[in-house]
């Protein structure tokens, strides 16, 4: 709860700091504020709080763990906004404020105990993101991205809300634990069509937010058009919060309807893995590849939902937590390097990375660790993320799904190697100059690479915590 309050206050504070017209103060200021939020959040670990606001919001270890991921992700993302500072961007304070507000939404999505809270959280998060997607006002691609994201997003939210309404109609409650009882109650059997349509609509709505196939179609275009800095936020924070909400919905409210949603999620999972990986393999732009790769990672996380079988604790839930963390760290590093390189070389295809191993060894190394982690190669956190999820699923007997996921991760190897090939095996263009990187970005990239490797060597301290 403290994190929601702090984030809201700091968001408003940031808006006022915009009056000072001093971009130099803004960046470290925002980072410090977020660090304070991170600390306040960790202080809630293993502390029992009564539910807030008439049982609408709960702060338990689950909330603390996923909030930790989204806040940490935002902290390490901020240094890559340096180019806005340098360029004297006049709206920087608003950008930071919107990021903080959308974090409030993310935390509400993670901690909700009431469907309306979920809806409010998703809306707070999304509306900030619609604005930020279009923040590059004079770039037609950014405008296109914002419009597409807004139209599709509004539509999906409508479906989600309709689903919530139907669920309420069928059960008469919004509170998750009451829902669970009502869904399982035999006297509600006659209401089943309404109930199932409601569940399906909610799955569609959230599936859209986490870009799970077949509701992923907006992802590549929106990710590509959105300024890279905000794309990184979209593909990490939005996805992590979305999956935390998804798992909670299925595990707490709907375990009684497993027979209905398990096959649905399984089918979505297989389709997401297929379309994400195959889509990524045929891209020529690094940014679009990362967009499709984020779709494919939604597929791996969906395996966790299947394996959870309606359990908020245990192997599968811990696996989703670990995977989200490893994925977020690697994705921020990948987008961070891509942003620095693309800003300097004015292009974002694979060839933009040519010879980076020579001109900027640290950027190249950071990108390498990120790619290996996303591909799930040992020594990186991504490997254990996949391992925990797949082992949990195999333990529940979903052998077919696991085999399919392993085959798809082989496809993944192909496209994650392409940036490495460009960076190390191809020479830089004539007269290519090193990409300028400042101290705090260097430190952040080194930290991200280190975190990925630490998660890949001693995962024990974060595995199985839920």
């Amino acid at each position: 709860m403290t994190s929601i309050i702090l984030l809201s206050i700091f968001g408003i504070l940031n808006l006022f700091m915009g009056f000072m017209r001093s971009n130099k103060v803004l960046l470290p200021g925002a980072m410090l504020l977020l660090l304070a939020v991170f600390g306040a959040n960790l202080a809630d670990w293993n502390v029992v709080h009564a539910p807030y606001f008439n049982n609408m919001l709960v702060v338990d270890n689950y909330t603390v763990a996923f909030t930790g991921i989204v806040v940490l992700t935002t902290i390490v993302l901020l240094p890559f906004s340096r180019s806005y500072v340098v360029a004297g961007e006049t709206n920087l304070a608003e950008y930071y404020a919107l990021l903080l507000f959308s974090l409030v939404g993310a935390v509400m999505m993670i901690g909700y105990n009431h469907l309306i809270m979920l809806f409010v959280g998703i809306e707070i998060l999304s509306i900030s993101m619609y604005v930020l997607a279009g923040s590059s006002k004079r770039d037609s691609r950014s405008n296109e991205a914002a419009l597409k994201y807004f139209l599709m997003g509004a539509f999906a939210t409508g479906i989600l809300l309709f689903g919530i309404a139907l669920l309420y109609g069928a059960t008469g409650t919004f509170v998750l634990s009451d829902l669970a009882g009502a869904v399982a109650a035999p006297e509600n059997a006659s209401l089943q069509p309404m109930l199932y349509i409601g569940i399906l609509m909610m799955i569609i709505g959230i599936g859209f937010k986490v870009s799970a196939a077949p509701f992923h179609f907006w992802t590549p275009d929106v990710y590509e058009g959105t300024p890279t800095f905000f794309t990184a936020f979209m593909s990490t924070v939005v996805k992590t919060a979305g999956f935390a909400a998804f798992l909670k919905l299925l595990a707490v409210a709907l375990p009684g309807a497993q027979g209905f949603w398990l096959p649905t999620i399984q089918a979505m999972c297989a389709l997401t893995l297929l379309l994400g990986n195959v889509g990524a393999a045929v891209q020529t732009s690094t940014k679009r590849m990362l967009a499709y790769s984020s779709v494919s990672h939604a597929g791996y996380l969906l395996i966790g939902l299947v394996a959870s079988r309606g359990n908020l604790t245990g192997d599968a839930a811990s696996g989703i937590f670990f995977y989200s963390l490893a994925y977020s760290i690697a994705t921020i590093a990948a987008f961070g390097v891509l942003k620095l390189v693309a800003d300097h070389r004015q292009r974002d295809d694979y060839a933009a990375l040519n010879g980076l191993g020579k001109t900027n060894p640290l950027l190249a190394f950071s990108m390498t660790v990120a790619m290996l982690s996303l591909a799930g190669i040992p020594l990186t956190g991504g490997f254990f993320g996949k391992f925990f999820l797949l082992a949990a699923a195999a333990g529940q007997g979903y052998i077919g799904l696991v085999v399919f996921a392993v085959i798809m991760s082989m496809v993944g190897l192909y496209y994650y190697l392409r940036p490495l090939i460009a960076m190390y095996l191809r020479p830089a263009e004539e007269g290519a100059t090193p990409v300028p990187v400042d101290g705090i970005q260097t430190a952040t990239l080194a930290l991200l690479a280190l975190l990925s490797i630490v998660l890949g060597i001693v995962p024990g301290f974060l595995s199985g915590i839920l």
Binding site: G357, I377, I399, V406, L417, I421, Y424, L425
Partner: protein, 488 residues
Amino acid sequence: MLTAVLLFLPLAAALLLLFIKGAAARALALGASLLEFGLAVYAAFAFKATGTVAFNLNYAWISSAGINFHLGLDGLSLLLVLLTTFLVPLILLSAFKHKYDNPSTFYALVLFMQTGLLGVFMSLDAFLFYFFWEVALIPIYFLAGAWGGERRVAVTLKFFLYTVVGSLLMLAGFVYLYLQTGPAAGSLAQHSSELSAFYSLKLSAAEQSWLFWLIFAAFAVKMPIFPFHTWQPDTYTEAPAPATMLLSGIMLKMGIYGTMRWLLPVLPLGVSQWGFLVVILSVIGIIYGAIIAIRQRDLKRLIAYSSLSHVGLMAAGVFSLTQIGLQGVVIQMLAHGVNVVGMFFVADAIERRTGTRYIPDLGGLTRRTPILSVCFLVMLLSTVALPLTGGFVGEFLLLAGVYQYNAWVGAVAGLTIIFSAVYLLRMFQRVMLGPDSAFSETITDLTGSELLILVPLIALVFWLGLFPNSFLHISEPAVINLLSLVGR
């Protein structure tokens, strides 16, 4: 404790190397690898060949999942650790002969790779084994990719995809086995990935049948045996010489070692079902590699195919499941490691002097290079398995084992010696003897520092040939253990 030092010393040196440039980098890399060899020799002397695992080191790694950081050495792993630590300093010395960009990164990757290799040979936990299996791949990918020849991009991509696909299948197999295990004593986790837990599994024949191929896929690609070999000749040819030596001298043994430790005793029914097929594939590989080697005009490619042919015999020996055959595999792993590194070094020495590996361009080199010729000949004759050399002992035992397994297969496999005499002697004749070429008068003989690499190799060739028992007695209890686990 000793195993941990063995494992982390090269890694520490590799990390240090990232900050050191110039001559100090060479000294550090070489010093660390020599110290490592010294430690391995010390381990060999402290080791009692009783069939038990020595130098155990067992910590909980991921305790919630029952995965342990468990290292140890038995006779089999000890010999491979010795081979690895013996070859790495020589490979580093051969790397000093080249002017690579970023040399300290190059040395760091070699040492990093050594950690991965040693980890593979010492792990007694399935996931730790898999972990190091992949760790060994990352540095060699960059070594071959960043410092390789013109076609390196396509070739290393193929290599990487082949090996990773193989190892992912192995991982899937391991996960299945892991989920069948019960909790280890005193552990809270539901399953255990300890080697001993895998050994005590009782799986049905039907399960073992498909699990066999999942796990064997990784080993078959790494060795490689026919038809999983297509990455091998290209990669050996395009990689820089030290990387080729690592690949052929040590990395190939990962596949054979893995089969012996993680396949035969874990899936004995699967092995008895599919063993004959694998032996047939291996024999096909022997003949196939040899015939293609005869037609090769690129020195490195010829040695690559020769290696393919020889590894086929080792694979057949593994699946013969006889004591004599497995002992042959052990000694041949050492002999082949020494031979192939020596051969690639000589080929590299010739290429550095003449600028070409194209056999028809070479010829008549002996006159100016008597020492080089002698060294080349020794390595070559050991590869052909002439008595007195290590290659002879290995191939003799192997053929004896395969003959015991099936006389007809043994007879066909025996062709490997005849074939290798054909293509290797013919190659020697065309490169070193024969009509003069453009380089006959200008080529210089081996320098002292190059002899520093070849003399230890030659010494080991003869040692293995004359006193094989000094190594065989180390591995014997381990091999007997292995056979009793398989049920032979």
